[in-house]
Symmetry: C2
Subunit: 242 residues, 2 copies
């Protein structure tokens, strides 16, 4: 659960003694939410740099200058698990991004299925949610969000070395223990949108050499619940993470 | 995932041929969101009555009269699993209620721990979220929400016949497969608020005869994520539901 030391994702090369300027939303957060001042410490991180301790050396109402003190943790990528997600509307999509980040997904691929109805998808906004969630949950990397592509295109270009589990609502899927038997990373998980996959999509999925149908229970789960439940089970069986 | 036939929770005794009047939010939803009219059909349900088919027999702009046609499904209670939840602020608490409902919890007990900070908890609002989620996910019962009580009080009056799993962030918990070994319903799951349990609360939990510490992984999970992940695993190991 969230700690007190602020953590910021700052995607630039880092080295000891370097002075960085923070502005805009990051400066606002540190100055006016966390009430930092000269001498306050924080952590900054990104995928290649790991996590570094830094200290505020000067600030005004809108800008901070921080000095990088030392590296406290080496870089660490999340497990090689991708989430393929048919976007849903509004807050629930932001929630999926946040939860997938917390549950340790390395990449999020947006997928257009026949029943996908989410219209105006702001990738900037989804990225901002991924960054915020990574900052909160002590991940040292931020999941990459891949712009939306049609399901057929994704399956056509799929690397069969990466097993693709998909949430199968028809009752024909396997329970997670069976579906995950013998699997390790790299892995991917596909969750359709509410309304499920169309018949021709199910046929395409079933015929594909890399896919494994995953049963997610008798209950009707919303897309966000199905995503979190399936990620929990995949991580539970693959990584001993949960 | 959600279906097209509207389902409404109507907590009154039901029998064939009965005429019901629907007003306010329910009428608004049916008339102006679902655009129902005379002859439209819907399902109504509650814990003791099961699920019934009904048909609109008359309506105006604000009220509908429906006739109960026949019972389509007998009553069905969710598994005897309780969620003990230290409330968190705002939308995230509503989300916990919604997800616990979808994941098949029979009762939600609000718990005050030392670090609980949620101040203004509207039980009516939480109840409304539970009802809405139950309507969406085809449950035939609605989880009862029990008003907030201090953790110490709950533990003191606990029926030891109901094992109480609790999310243990200290690293001393057991993985779900071990924690759940040999357990069946009745069960309960306790998730603390962000910031975790205080030391004296952990001591109280460890000393209690009904408790089992559950490890939820190396990552820092927000309270809502921890709740959904833990419920997924408990249901997975206890009921073959997921």
């Amino acid at each position: 659960m969230p700690r007190d030391v602020p953590r910021l994702y700052v995607p630039i090369p880092m080295h000891q003694g370097m002075i960085l300027t923070l502005e805009d939303a990051q400066a606002h957060y540190l100055l006016h939410v966390m009430r930092m001042n000269v001498g306050s410490t924080l952590h900054i991180f990104h995928d290649d740099a790991g996590e570094w301790l830094a200290r505020v050396v000067s600030c005004n109402r809108k800008t901070l200058h921080i000095e990088i003190i030392e590296r406290v943790l080496p870089p660490q990528l999340s497990p090689d698990l991708w989430l393929l997600s048919a976007p849903i509307k509004g807050k629930r999509m932001e929630y999926i991004i946040e939860k997938a980040t917390e549950l340790g997904v390395r990449k999020i691929v947006l997928v257009r299925t026949e029943r996908t109805i989410a219209a105006h998808l702001s990738e900037d906004r989804l990225n901002a949610h991924a960054i915020e969630a990574a900052q909160q949950c002590e991940r040292r990397d931020v999941p990459k969000i891949v712009p939306i592509q049609p399901l057929a295109h994704i399956l056509e270009h799929w690397d069969v070395q990466r097993p693709l589990l998909y949430g199968d609502e028809t009752g024909a899927g396997m329970r997670a223990d069976r579906a995950m038997a013998g699997l390790t990373y790299p892995l991917a998980l596909l969750i359709g949108c509410e309304g499920g996959f169309a018949t021709h999509e199910l046929e395409m999925l079933r015929a594909h050499p890399a896919t494994i149908p995953l049963h997610l229970g008798e209950h009707i789960l919303r897309a966000d619940t199905a995503t979190i439940a399936a990620l929990t089970l995949v991580q539970h069986y693959s990584a001993s993470m949960i």
